[in-house]
């Protein structure tokens, strides 16, 4: 794939010899930006997203809001909150079944924010971000979840091998029998037995912390002292035979604990490695699956810093759908696995008369060929906007780009492209100007 991208760049470099006036027009003018826009209250208000509060329950939500909105409707700047309704409401029993039936609502996110305006005014914004379908997400994939549930379960179901819980249970039964033997005429009280048994059972980590995590013999010594001390509080003194029996049980416990530690640490490491491997495979095989995203948001101004005084400045909506070429959803062909089509549309309406535009609509599509992390792209965009003021003029143009992109790490892409623009209406020259300005950019982009 890298060779193909480099060859294409070479061809386009040759075409640049015939470009018109290369210095006055740059590729930035023509490059179609097909990243998924960030429509959150924070991006609308330009708030630092590191300061965003994400309440985990209704109480935290109420407390978070009341710091910035009082009961009289007065607003203060500084509110930056991202609400995931699922996270807040899922624990309520009455709504749990609702979320199970409507799992697509789980990733619905609502953002709200307030910020100081240029003078004494206050700005407010809200944003909604919803991805009802995302078949490229390995975390949401049921088959992958089931794979790892089986992986976990298999650890406790190895043929011809007693599980660690089974080994611990057998050991504790031996300890219980030992305790019963200390008072043959009447059983020790259950509280007394629990008080002693707890030193032998539970999670291996807590035993290692309690006794010694580095040495088998030290572990046994510390454990025996601890258990004898506890027996002493119940006035239970051991004869030499009983003391020897206790020592044997403690040696068994130490062996069990250190064996479990070694096995569990290895298992945890293997789990993480296998998970990363399976996720990589999943993403490589499913990068071009169906995703639908919907976003909306708006910005307000309040001269008097109250809810009643809020006036709308602009609102915007975005919708995008990406997936395999229609008809190839279930195909195993090379084309099906290595291509993706994207369609998206965006509309912004400006209520603020000081803005140059009244509204702006853009729509377009991409065809990608390649893999999850590197691909060629062909893109087309149509845009129309009306200009503010006493004019009926519109701006209308199309843009097209051919290029490539390579993922550097999560969210960071290297982009290379060449493209052109044609104005259908507007006061700019109508032209088709293929420019090779070799636009390259390394930037964080949210993409399908």
């Amino acid at each position: 794939m890298k060779k193909i991208i480099l060859i294409c760049i070479g061809i386009l470099a040759g075409a640049s010899l015939y470009a018109q006036n290369p210095d006055s027009i740059t590729i930035d003018d023509y490059y179609v930006d097909f990243s998924v826009p960030d429509i959150t209250a924070f991006s609308i208000l330009d708030i630092n997203s590191n300061d965003v509060v994400r309440p985990g329950n209704v109480k935290e939500l109420a407390v978070g809001i009341q710091n910035y909105v009082d009961q009289d409707g007065n607003l203060k700047p500084g509110l930056a909150m991202e609400i995931a309704p699922y996270r807040i409401l899922a624990k309520a029993l009455k709504v749990r079944s609702f979320w199970e039936k409507n799992k697509s609502l789980k990733n619905l996110q609502i953002s709200i924010g307030t910020a100081q305006g240029d003078s004494s005014n206050l700005l407010a914004a809200w944003g909604i971000n919803w991805t009802p379908i995302d078949r490229t997400d390995p975390v949401a994939n049921i088959a992958l979840q089931n794979f790892f549930a089986d992986y976990l379960a298999n650890k406790d179901s190895i043929a011809n091998q007693m599980s660690l819980a089974g080994q611990r249970n057998k050991h504790l039964q031996s300890v219980n029998q030992f305790l019963n033997s200390l008072t043959p005429t009447s059983r020790l009280s259950s509280q007394t037995k629990v008080a002693i048994l707890q030193y032998f059972g539970g999670g291996y980590r807590s035993r290692l912390l309690r006794y010694d995590s580095t040495d088998n013999q030290l572990y046994a010594l510390v454990m025996k002292d601890t258990v004898l001390q506890k027996l002493g509080t119940f006035n239970i003194n051991l004869d030499s035979a009983q003391s020897n029996a206790l020592s044997m049980l403690i040696v068994q416990n130490a062996k069990l604990t250190f064996t479990e530690q070694a096995e569990e640490e290895e298992f945890a490491e293997n789990f993480s490695e296998e998970l990363k491997r399976q996720k990589k495979i999943f993403i490589e095989e499913n990068w071009n699956r169906l995703v639908i995203q919907l976003k909306a948001g708006s910005k307000y101004n309040s001269a008097e810093n109250t809810i009643k005084d809020l006036s709308l400045l602009n609102w915007r909506i975005f919708g995008g759908i990406a997936g395999r070429i229609p008809g190839l959803a279930n195909s195993n062909s090379t084309l099906a696995k290595s291509s993706q089509v994207i369609y998206q549309a965006s509309y912004i309406n400006y209520k603020d008369k000081s803005m140059p535009l009244k509204w702006e609509f853009s729509t377009g599509g991409r065809l990608l060929l390649g893999k999850a992390d590197k691909r060629l792209s062909a893109e087309f965009l149509y845009s129309q906007a009306t200009i503010n003021g006493e004019t009926t003029d519109k701006s209308e143009y199309i843009r097209y780009t051919i290029g490539g992109e390579m993922k550097i790490n999560e969210g960071l892409w290297l982009e290379l492209a060449v493209g052109g623009q044609k104005f259908l209406q507007g006061n700019d020259d109508t032209r088709v100007v293929p420019q090779f300005g070799l636009k390259y950019a390394i930037q964080k982009k949210s993409r399908f």
């Binding site: 379960a153 406790d156 819980a165 504790l172 259950s190 629990v194 048994l197 539970g202 993480s272 996720k279």
Partner: protein, 116 residues
């Protein structure tokens, strides 16, 4: 270590194991009988331990494994409820953080006692 007390009647003792906020899990519960379940199997979580006469002075042990396949820590809650004849005998609940792309195990045991 839990202490589970139940009546010496002919009503069996049952357990119900629930895992919340972790889509990937499995457990093993060991007593007179061994019960296993996992999230991929539809999560059958209700098990009958047995009759009081057979359960008295028994030790039960359990390991619950939780997996997190996402890239952020999740907090899961695990609850075991022991019941007899619809009466709740004991509830054991733990909240545990599961780091990103990792698995953890939580273990504990119980002594069962039949009372008059």
């Amino acid at each position: 270590m839990e202490l589970i007390r139940f009546s010496k009647t002919d009503k069996p003792v049952s357990i119900d194991i629930q895992v919340e906020e972790a889509p990937v899990w499995s457990y093993i519960y060991v007593g007179d009988l061994t019960f296993k379940s996992k999230s991929s199997a539809g999560g059958n979580s209700n098990h009958i331990l047995g009759l009081p006469v057979n359960l008295d002075d028994d030790i039960n042990s359990w390991d619950i494994r939780l997996g997190n396949i996402s890239t952020s820590t999740l907090t899961a809650t695990v609850t075991i409820t022991w019941t007899q004849d619809d009466k709740v005998l004991n509830i054991w609940t733990r909240q545990i953080d599961v780091p990103a792309e990792a698995a953890v195990k939580i273990s504990d045991d119980a002594l069962l006692e039949a009372t008059n």
